[in-house]
């Protein structure tokens, strides 16, 4: 560092010693440390143990080493359970990588943020089309927190103090609902049948497809909820909605979902993207940012054309205006992930969304039927299913997963501890449109080998 002693302290910090001296003189301060004089002297500049700074090449090498400590990214992988391997068009990452999108802040100044705002409007439009709902916000953190927000909304509008979650629902979603509900003083009941919903429930929440992969007929669930004056909240996989009936058409009042899989790589779960769409009558109770379409002011400078533009709107719901009476505390959420989600869905288009969903369905069913033909294996079905299926093998589920791992294959999630009888001794496998044929073949081969030895 000595050779740079008069230079800038770091490539990310441009001011040189000469700059600093000039600035300090202008301010009238002897040194940078003097600017911190208000901090308690006894506590200033404490000893802190951090690893030393790395130049860029060393940093990359270190990060490659860390990345290499994860499982090989090329390994056959059959985990689903809330995160699914999807075919993401190359243009999605290319376009969202543009720094005008990536390095901007929340669009508080619409005149120089139309890119973010119009893209968010595209996102809201796409989410409404997929879910069959009237209105969407611009996105929340993830499906679980979005579902928790849906429960809080339902409690506000019904003035009821409990919510009902229909099993099988993702345990992570259920747990986040409980976290939020506890803070708000709401009860959370898990139910195995819609008949269990009561008049004290603000809403019934059901997942589509459910946690074990089964496609759910949402209409009777909506009927049961509405029968006791509760809202119906559908937690739907937006990719599956390329094929499955829109929850809005089946009577849902709020639809939440996870958008990460269509936005890009799984990234160990995050960044995620919480979809949140609702009926118009709940618009002013919705959490999060909402983008609206408008025109230039007539007395503005647009030359009188009053061109179309986009703004953050209905902000009277939000924390920075309403403070403790806001509909939610959400501020920064997942805007860039929403843009990525939108580009993927629009790149697929109407034929691609349906075509991909059908391809996913066919590939998953083909893999399942091949496994079912192996001696010692069965596929316990609970009804029609989409991309995820239960596999019960000749040896206990945990052993089967371990044996597959020993063969370099990531098994499905062990669900053998769940209460549903079909899940007994079972692993939950996901096969999607993006699972390579060779991976499915490797799985079948490994399962046959394990079965033969059992």
């Amino acid at each position: 560092m000595s050779s740079r002693s008069s230079g800038s302290p770091h490539p990310y910090i441009p001011a040189t010693d000469v700059d600093r001296a000039r600035m300090l003189e202008r301010i009238g301060a002897p040194e940078v440390g003097a600017l911190f004089a208000d901090l308690p002297a006894a506590m200033r500049d404490p000893a802190i143990d951090l690893p030393p700074a790395l130049p860029e090449a060393d940093l990359i090498a270190l990060m490659e080493e860390h990345a290499g400590a994860n499982a090989a990214p090329t390994r056959p992988e059959f985990l689903g359970a809330g995160a699914y391997r999807r075919s993401i068009p190359a243009i999605t990452g290319y376009l969202t990588g543009r720094s005008e999108f990536a390095t901007s802040y929340t669009p508080y100044q619409p005149e120089i943020s139309q890119g973010t705002l119009q893209a968010a409007f595209e996102y809201q439009s796409v989410v409404c089309e997929l879910t069959g709902m009237d209105v969407s916000n611009a996105g929340l953190y993830d499906v679980a927190s979005a579902t928790a927000e849906a429960c809080l909304l339902a409690a506000r509008v019904t003035k009821r103090r409990a919510v009902a979650l229909l099993e099988p629902i993702h345990p992570g979603t259920a747990e986040v609902v409980r976290t939020y509900a506890r803070g708000a003083g709401l009860g959370v009941d898990t139910v195995v049948s819609p008949d269990a919903i009561r008049e004290e429930h603000a809403c019934l929440v059901a997942q589509q497809p459910d946690f074990l992969g089964t496609i759910v007929d949402l209409e009777p669930l909506a009927g049961a909820a509405h029968g006791v004056g509760a809202l119906f909240v559908a937690v739907a996989d937006p990719f599956a909605l390329g094929l499955l009936r829109a929850p809005g058409d089946a009577g849902a009042d709020i639809v939440t979902g996870e958008g990460r899989d269509l936005a890009g790589a799984p990234n160990y779960g995050g960044p995620s993207l919480g979809l949140f769409a609702a009926r118009t009558k709940y618009l002013r109770q919705m959490p999060g940012r909402i983008v609206g379409r408008t025109r230039e002011l007539a007395d503005g400078n647009g030359g009188g054309e009053q061109r179309t533009g986009y703004v953050l709107t209905l902000q009277a719901r939000e924390q920075f205006i309403r403070r403790e009476r806001a509909t939610s505390n959400v501020s920064t959420a997942q805007a860039l992930i929403a843009v990525a989600f939108t580009i993927t869905v629009q790149a697929l288009g109407p034929s691609g969304m349906r075509g991909s969903a059908v391809l996913c369905y066919q590939r998953a069913h083909d893999a399942a039927s091949r496994i079912a033909m192996l001696p010692g294996y069965e596929i316990p079905e609970r009804g029609p299913w989409f991309q995820e299926f239960l596999v019960r093998g000749p040896i206990p589920a945990a052993d089967l997963a371990a044996q597959l791992a020993a063969r370099g294959i990531g098994a499905g999630l062990d669900v053998s501890a769940r209460p549903e009888p079909e899940a007994r001794d079972a692993l939950l496998f996901a096969v999607t449109e993006a699972t390579p044929d060779a991976h499915v073949d490797a799985l079948i081969g490994a399962l046959a080998e394990i079965g033969g030895a059992a």
Partner: protein, 492 residues
């Protein structure tokens, strides 16, 4: 009406849905060549989805055109107060996209994600060192999510003490971000507002009067949203603890004090940090961020699930703390943001982070010195990372609002500062240059602000109708809220 000026398209009037032609497509989806499984019953299926049909090049042009309407930190100076718009290092994006990280499945076994978990372990230990609060959870997705974690932790700790029924109030300064009171309410508490004293610090007399057995916590932003240090906060912490409450720290402004002073040493019990501010991860026009919570030994059992811990065997595990408030997300948080933040920490080291906080503070004081006299400065004392001027003189004497000043600054090539916040400053102009702006950029920003102040006198109408050079002029926000149009419609 559109098109009356040659070359000026009403670009916003035509969404992707209005472009393209039926039958075009941006990607091919192969059809299934194997044996067909019958689809489920029709009542479970839909006919089609209404979506645009664009060619690949058409879609790329549309979103490229959209991006060109945006202003990012790579475009120029972005002095948005309280948002810490510093340079976003590109190597962070490069390393976050390494396939080993990117393709890690959130349900993968711990054996399969040791690289990811070790990064979180080391980042957590670095944040623990920097904050003096060694126990960390990365579950929160953003700052407000971290606030919710912290306040729920306080609630759970009080419950275990048998005092949750009686301690129903959280004290929040009137200068706080709106997320603070909104979070307190979401966690079931009542908010009592604490006024700001004449010197810009918390009003000590009010705090002392309000502190009693009904107070659960005090939420303090340090440095505060005026860019000022909370003088005597370490003594206030003592008073809060004597009264049986907790001190929550909003770390949104951590960039000012990285390596200079530690929340834990000052007596804070729990803080959240905004890694998309202090730790340089791109904000993406509104996320993704990351809002880790760091806390004391006493509150550690309540941290959100999961936390990462290293065993004696060197193996890193995900653990649910004993009295955890539970999960805040379905999975483990915004892992790819954490990879970027870790890369930032490793690129700077302690000396680099201290240089960053030092330069950020120097830059804000440089703005303060250069702009002094041109705008009012209601709290006129040395600042930390940001400085809050007021346009009240311009409003009173010239009928020009801060809103107009901000819009005119766009014509001068800058993203405007944060305006009308904090709420306690009339016509507020909150300027945070960050350490990544060189002095010449700061001088240019100040020159532009001075030029706008002069224009406010000589030609106020130019300000009232600004911006003139932006992709679009002032928009009718009132109608947008009164008659909301929130999605594409076939005939819109």
């Amino acid at each position: 009406m559109s098109g009356s000026r040659p070359g000026v398209e009403d670009f916003g009037a035509r969404l992707s849905f209005d472009r393209g032609e039926p039958g075009r497509r941006a990607v091919d989806v192969p059809s299934w060549a194997g044996e067909e499984t019958p689809l489920p019953d029709d009542r479970l299926l839909r006919d089609s989805v209404r979506l645009p049909e664009l060619s690949q090049g058409g879609l790329v042009r549309y979103y490229t055109a959209l991006s060109a309407l945006n202003y990012g930190i790579d475009s120029g100076t972005y002095p948005l107060g309280s948002c810490t718009m510093k340079y976003n290092p590109k190597v962070n994006d490069t390393v976050a996209s390494l396939p080993g990280f990117a393709r890690a499945h959130p349900q993968a076994s711990e054996e399969d994600v040791q690289g990811t978990l070790r990064i979180q372990l080391e980042l957590g230990s670095g944040l623990g060192e920097l904050t003096g609060l060694p126990h960390v959870s990365f579950a929160p997705a953003a700052g407000a999510h971290g606030e919710l974690a912290g306040v729920l932790m306080v609630a759970r700790a009080l419950e275990d003490r048998g005092e949750l029924e009686t301690r129903r109030r959280i004290l929040v300064p009137d200068s706080a971000h709106g997320t603070n009171p909104a979070t307190a309410a979401m966690a079931g508490f009542k908010v009592t507002q604490i006024p700001t004293a004449a010197d810009g610090s918390l009003d000590r007399a009010t705090i002392e009067r309000e502190l009693d057995e009904t107070v659960a916590a005090v939420m303090v932003t340090a440095p505060n949203t005026l860019g000022l240090w909370e003088r005597g906060i370490e003594e206030v912490a003592g008073l809060i603890h004597e009264a049986g409450g907790y001190l929550y720290g909003d770390g949104a402004n951590f960039n000012a004090i990285m390596g200079r002073v530690r929340f834990g040493d000052l007596g804070f019990d729990v803080v959240h940090l905004n890694l998309h501010k202090s730790f340089s991860t791109p904000h993406g026009g509104g996320g993704p961020g990351a809002g880790p919570v760091c806390c004391s030994e006493e509150l550690a059992p309540y941290l959100p699930t999961p936390v990462v811990e290293e065993g004696d065997d060197g193996f890193v595990r995900l653990v649910a703390p004993e009295r955890s408030i539970g999960r805040l997300q379905q999975f483990q948080g915004n892992a790819a943001v954490l990879v970027r933040a870790y890369a930032y920490m490793r690129a700077l080291g302690l000396d680099g982070l201290r240089a960053a906080s030092g330069q950020a503070v120097l830059n804000a004081n440089y703005v303060r010195a250069l702009l002094h006299g041109h705008y009012d400065l209601p709290y006129d004392r040395p600042v930390l990372h940001e400085v809050v001027f007021s346009g009240s003189r311009q409003r009173r004497e010239l009928g020009v609002r801060t809103y107009d000043i901000a819009k005119r600054l766009i014509d001068h090539g800058f993203h405007p500062p944060t305006v009308y916040f904090p709420l306690i400053v009339e016509e507020a102009l909150m300027i945070e240059p960050t350490e990544s702006e060189p002095p010449e950029a700061i001088e240019a920003l100040v020159d532009a602000l001075i030029a706008v102040a002069e224009e406010a006198k000589s030609d106020p109408d130019t300000l009232r109708h600004a911006p003139w050079t932006a992709p679009i002029g002032r928009l009718d926000e009132a109608t947008a809220a009164r008659r909301p149009v929130l999605r594409w419609q076939e005939d819109s």
